[in-house]
């Protein structure tokens, strides 16, 4: 009887009861869930951001020398591309377990796995970007006395930046999404909440975490667009 009364109360006056994410109601969108579990959500989001940023930066640090190597030695290029594409083909749920014997059940496993995926995209876009630099520009720079290093850093990289940034955006957005799979080894950021939401049939948790993932991806993308605008002021003049 009391149960019935309670249920009725929850339905009638949800303001008084611990309502919209309770077992009986289990709503998808629930503000109270966000308020009550704020700390948990923030922790998961911070872990998500951390894993994503470290993975993309690591991917970039490996991709840069690889791309330069591929450019210097054209014979290496096809094998570098073949190996990275091969890694890319392996599903994330299989790649993480394959790393476990070496890195254990840790955040490192997820970070390395995601960095390997980002690497594939970044190597390609770095190569495409450097290739997009017009030969005349390169020749005039050499004629002006630029050495190999300053040619790369002062002429080629800035001109390659739009293509490289396009690749970086793609890599970052997909890394944000893939981080969720890290919940397999318990380091999945918001993916941990999604997994818990599925296991316990907790709709508010599942929905909030999913929406936050997409929001994170959009925010990262917007930040990178902003960064590109700041780094390439000359392209704005052309467009205007």
């Amino acid at each position: 009887m009391t149960l019935l009364v309670q249920a009725a109360q929850i339905r009638l006056s949800s303001a008084d009861e611990p309502s919209c994410y309770s077992r009986q109601v289990n709503e998808w969108v629930c503000g109270e869930y966000v308020v009550d579990r704020w700390d948990e959500i923030v922790d998961a989001t911070v872990q998500h951001i951390g894993i994503t940023v470290v993975a993309v930066v690591l991917g970039l640090l490996i991709a840069f020398p690889l791309a330069l190597l591929a450019r210097r030695l054209p014979r290496m290029e096809s094998s570098i591309l073949a190996v990275t594409t091969g890694i890319y083909t392996v599903p994330s749920l299989a790649l993480f377990p394959l790393l476990v014997p070496f890195t254990g059940l840790s955040a490192t496993t997820v970070v390395i796995g995601l960095a390997l995926y980002a690497l594939t995209i970044l190597v390609r876009s770095l190569l495409e970007g450097l290739r997009s630099v017009p030969d005349e520009v390169r020749e005039s720079a050499v004629g002006l006395g630029y050495g190999r290093r300053s040619l790369l850093m002062k002429v080629e990289m800035p001109l390659a930046l739009p293509v490289v940034m396009a690749g970086l955006r793609v890599a970052t957005v997909s890394t944000v999404a893939l981080t969720t799979v890290g919940s397999l080894v318990a380091y999945g950021g918001l993916g941990n909440l999604i997994k818990d939401g599925v296991l316990t049939n907790f709709r508010a948790e599942l929905f909030t975490a999913s929406v936050l993932c997409v929001v994170l991806a959009v925010v990262f993308d917007a930040l990178l667009v902003l960064m590109q605008r700041v780094l390439t002021p000359w392209t704005r003049g052309v467009r205007a």
């Binding site: 599903p91 970007g129 999604i194 929905f207």
Partner: protein
Amino acid sequence: MTVLTDMWAYLSDPANWTGSDGILALMAEQLLLTFTALLMAMVLGLPLALWLGHLGRGGFLAINISNIGRAVPTFALLALLVVAPWPGTDSFGPYGRAGLATLIALTLFALPPIITNSYVAMREVAPDVREAARGMGMTGRQQFWRVELPLGLPLVMSGLRLALVQVWATATIAALVAGPGLGRIITDGFFRSNYGKGIAGAVVVAAVALVLEMAAALAQRAADPARRTGASTPAGGHDDALSVTGATVESSAESVG
């Protein structure tokens, strides 16, 4: 490194390969899921994208659908579908537990690479080739079937190839929400601290993924009209069109899931 020994023990035990929960049965289930979803995505996406590309309309949508697809985590979408009242976790014919939810998620994730690549393939046919076709008096339909489609076919095929890889990866993730497929060996192993089993499952999934990718690459090569006729310079310089930065970044850059 005892995990690796466990893994080998799991893989070399024939009992783990046979039976209704064996590797072979799960692999068949996942392959069935993969090809059904790919077929559904082709039926839904190919005609629309090719037609829009032919007309040159709806480009914004066709390009951006890939960006949206990349931002939505496959795991989150699967989880939402499984927890929702419909399609839920009900068994669906030969597709196993949560079969319908998995099929829907797989189809949705196969659509972006197919739509974007097919659209770009139609748009990247060199304008002078298109103009020449019109000058010869070809109707819109003839232009599409005899000029645009043959020239765009390699890029369309590369979209299908990406979709295949993507669908296989997503089908693996279905196991994270207790769905069908080989991923179940991985999640079973990990959630019950039987890491050897988990890693064994991962090896099988990765091996099949590589085989599928290689088979798709061969199919793609076979569909390239320039290579098939052995011509050294393809008509309309479409080799250049294929290597333009935009299309290449797009086509190499789908999230794996």
